[in-house]
């Protein structure tokens, strides 16, 4: 065990995967000599060589296209997209190719590519450095999609992703890179070393896809969240002194429907929270699924908490971000409906 922030945990995951399997390669913009703009790949090129940690041209579509070919030829590429906001030039290669290759070739070809990308706001990145596009991948069959909320899960999910023969999209909430964040930008920053999930095994382990985690057991209401919003939800529930059951989805695809629905059937109330734009966001799928399974147990309409249906504006970062106040209003609405 060691204290790691999320950057170190991700770095450790790649380090371990590369040491264990010579076919693991890392590629992306500035990932090599420089170690990545967020330093997630720091030191890997020095250790594994510039033929396994590859600086690429600024062409996300080319990076994923090449990674698919590498995957077909037996490598396990880990591609970094510098910001999730810049994944769209690669969207065709991801949706039309990476996600569908195994299916269209009836299992004869596949490309075990992991695509990592920092997502979410909270670092004053403005409308093109703050997006959370997870639903745009979750809707596409053939991709596994995950978003960790802490260093432990980040490392375990990333090792699992690299070793997985299916393509994986790993969204990394960049606001959590250095510490947990409860949604209050005015509080002093807290490092991961103070948090239980900042305690990370130095060795190999995986966090399985398809399993949500009950972060906090409770009876009054279920809060379903992922990424940064897990921490915001905890703080909001605590402030309201609610005995909330808080579930970290972690793996969006496959989705752990049982854990989610068992909880809501038990508590009878549900708030769903994500940072992405609300309309047709992943929260809609969560709400629709929970409603279907827990209908007879629900005591109030499920509430969704999310970013507004606007881009993420530079000057109004904290008005956009679904912080504790927004979660609290939703909690109040489900606790005292109408």
């Amino acid at each position: 065990m060691a204290k790691m922030n999320m950057i170190q945990a991700l770095n450790s995951a790649m380090d371990i995967a590369m040491a264990r399997d010579p076919n693991v390669v890392v590629l992306g913009q500035d990932v090599g000599f420089f170690g990545g703009v967020f330093r997630c790949t720091d030191g890997l090129q020095r250790k594994y060589g510039e033929h396994r940690v590859i600086d690429t041209p600024i062409a996300e579509g080319g990076i994923i296209g090449a990674a698919i070919g590498m995957g077909v030829n037996g490598l396990r590429p880990v591609a970094e997209v510098q910001f999730a906001d810049y994944v769209y030039p690669a969207y065709d290669q991801i949706v039309s190719e990476l996600a569908r290759l195994r299916y269209r070739s009836a299992g004869d070809f596949h490309a075990p590519v992991t695509v990592r990308m920092p997502c979410g706001g909270g670092i004053r990145g403005g409308q093109t450095h703050s997006q959370s596009p997870e639903v745009l991948f979750a809707h596409v069959c053939g991709l596994k999609v995950a978003m960790p909320s802490n260093p432990y899960d980040a490392k375990g999910l990333l090792i699992g992703a690299i070793e997985d023969d299916d393509p994986v999209i790993l969204l990394e909430p960049k606001r959590l890179y250095n510490g947990p964040f409860d949604g209050d930008p005015n509080k002093p920053a807290v490092p991961w070393s103070t948090h239980a999930k900042g305690e990370v095994p130095t060795d190999h382990y995986t966090v399985p896809f398809g399993r949500a985690e009950i972060v906090r057991a409770g009876t009054q209401v279920t809060i379903i969240a992922y990424g940064t919003m897990v921490h915001v939800a905890e703080a909001a529930a605590q402030a309201l002194k609610l005995d909330a059951e808080i579930i970290d989805v972690r793996s969006l695809v496959p989705l752990d429907v049982d854990t989610l629905c068992n909880s809501v059937c038990k508590t009878g109330r549900c708030v769903i929270a994500h940072e992405a734009t609300r309309f047709a966001g992943f929260g809609a799928e969560l709400a629709a699924t929970v409603m279907e399974h827990c209908f007879w147990n629900l005591e109030a309409p499920i509430q969704r908490v999310a970013g507004w249906n606007t881009p993420y504006p530079h000057a109004f970062e904290w008005e956009y971000f679904p912080g504790q106040a927004r979660v609290a209003l939703a909690l109040k609405a489900v606790m005292e409906p109408k």
């Binding site: 390669v25 033929h51 396994r52 590859i54 690429t56 041209p57 062409a59 579509g61 080319g62 296209g65 090449a66 990674a67 698919i68 070919g69 590498m70 995957g71 077909v72 030829n73 037996g74 490598l75 590429p77 030039p89 065709d92 290669q93 039309s96 190719e97 290759l101 195994r102 299916y103 269209r104 070739s105 009836a106 299992g107 004869d108 070809f109 596949h110 069959c141 053939g142 596994k144 023969d165 299916d166 398809g210 496959p254 989705l255 429907v257």
Partner: protein, 418 residues
């Protein structure tokens, strides 16, 4: 030409030289005399290959002799094999179009007039080389010995379909034969081939990757990405642009062929660009071999433009008489690849009309027999059908819970529907 409104527009809009009802005109085509273009060493700098990007590599002359430095000096036996593959490809295509007309196939695309592009290239490569075809490269499947029955079962989406019914006809693949899965999305295979080649280099293996796309598809981003990555990492890859003059109804000028050759894009990125007579079996063989040797010895990638002509319709959904002169194919100045190789073999004294007819009959019978076998495995409307459960496999490596549930739901739905 068009009876359109008066315009102040200064926009330049490329137009093909002839539309239906007008005389075909291929005068726009830059041709070099057979044998005229020099052949640099495969170790030459891309700078020393510049003339190849605008000249036209040709070997067969009008008297059906092989001339000039690009003559690959193949044995007659090899030429006969090439002829056989091309002829088989053509007969296969013809029969499949007929089957589509009879409602046995949902769709088909033939490669008539472009057989040398695939067959000669396929023969110039090694079995360990990985091929990333487009939908108009059936010759590659033939060269790599894919059984016709197997190809037909794919076309029929039947119980023996290698794609398990998931793909449109012609989207073949074979992992065993190193033939990559064909995508319906144009040009996406281009950077993938480069990535495959990069991996070969990383692993220190000497196989090369080769890929093909149409001139129309070269407009896609993936074409640019492929050239760029091939250049930056000197990936052992052969990037082929099959310029068959048309992309459905759209002339090659609209794809960027009006101002410069497609081969000329290569040198811009520091890759040799070879412009090749795509209907000249020997030229295609020689150019592919040059690029493969270069790649195998660490020289990196090559862009090859194959100048050819789509003699038939784009697909069975298309009617080219709506957008080009009906008789345009007859005026194509570079002839027919099958006919040209046949005449060359005859000129060498290694072939005859009689042998050709006999071969034709033999191959056609082979196609007919294969079809008769293929349909026993099911057609669109008759015979055995693939198990519907298969629909949920291979989305992921292992069937996840939600797809297991959907499989049950489908069973229930079919049961309910009776």
């Amino acid at each position: 030409m068009l009876e359109h409104m008066p315009t102040r527009s200064r926009l330049h809009v490329p137009a093909p030289p002839a539309r239906p009802g007008q005389p075909p005109d291929f005068s726009y085509l830059q041709l070099s005399p057979p044998g005229a273009v020099a052949r640099p060493e495969t170790t030459a700098s891309w700078r020393d290959t510049l003339p190849l990007a605008t000249g036209l590599i040709r070997v067969l002359d009008d008297a059906h002799r092989a001339v000039g430095p690009w003559n690959p000096r193949l044995e007659a036996a090899d030429l006969q094999v090439g002829l056989r593959h091309m002829l088989l490809t053509r007969l296969f295509d013809d029969r499949m179009v007929r089957s589509q007309r009879q409602g046995k196939l949902s769709f088909y695309m033939k490669s008539t007039g472009e057989e040398a592009v695939s067959v000669a290239a396929g023969m110039a490569l090694q079995p360990g080389d990985m091929l990333f075809p487009s939908y108009r490269n059936q010759g590659l499947q033939v060269v790599r010995g894919r059984p016709l029955v197997e190809l037909m079962c794919q076309l029929l989406s039947n119980t023996h379909d290698m794609c398990k019914g998931r793909q449109l006809p012609v989207m073949y693949h074979s992992a065993a034969a190193n033939l990559f899965s064909i995508s319906g999305n144009l040009a996406t295979q281009f950077p993938q081939a480069v990535g495959w080649a990069m991996a070969a280099a990383i692993k220190g293996e000497e196989h090369v990757a080769a890929t093909w796309t149409g001139e129309g598809s070269s407009a896609e981003a993936d074409f640019h990405h492929a050239l760029l990555f091939a250049s930056v990492y000197r990936a052992p890859v052969i990037l082929n642009v099959v310029n068959n003059q048309w992309a459905i109804s759209t002339f090659q000028g609209t794809a960027g062929g009006e101002q410069n050759s497609f081969a000329a894009r290569g040198p811009a990125y520091g890759l040799p660009g070879l412009r090749v007579d795509g209907n000249d079996f020997l030229a295609v063989y020689a150019a592919t071999r040059w690029a493969a040797d270069r790649a195998r010895t660490g020289g990196g990638g090559t862009l090859i433009e194959l100048v050819t002509y789509r003699a038939g319709a784009h697909s069975t959904s298309d009617d080219p008489s709506r957008y080009r002169p009906k008789n345009e194919p007859e005026h194509w100045p570079l002839g027919d690849p099958v006919e040209r190789l046949k005449q060359h073999l005859i000129a060498l004294g290694e072939w005859s009309d009689a042998r050709h007819s006999a071969l034709s009959e033999e191959l056609d019978a082979q196609v007919v027999a294969a079809w008769q076998e293929a349909v026993t495995h099911g057609t669109m409307n008759e015979g055995p059908r693939l198990d519907r459960d298969l629909m949920f496999d291979d989305v992921f490596k292992e069937l996840p819970e939600h797809l297991r549930r959907e499989r049950e739901l489908l069973r229930a739905e079919l049961a309910a529907a009776g």
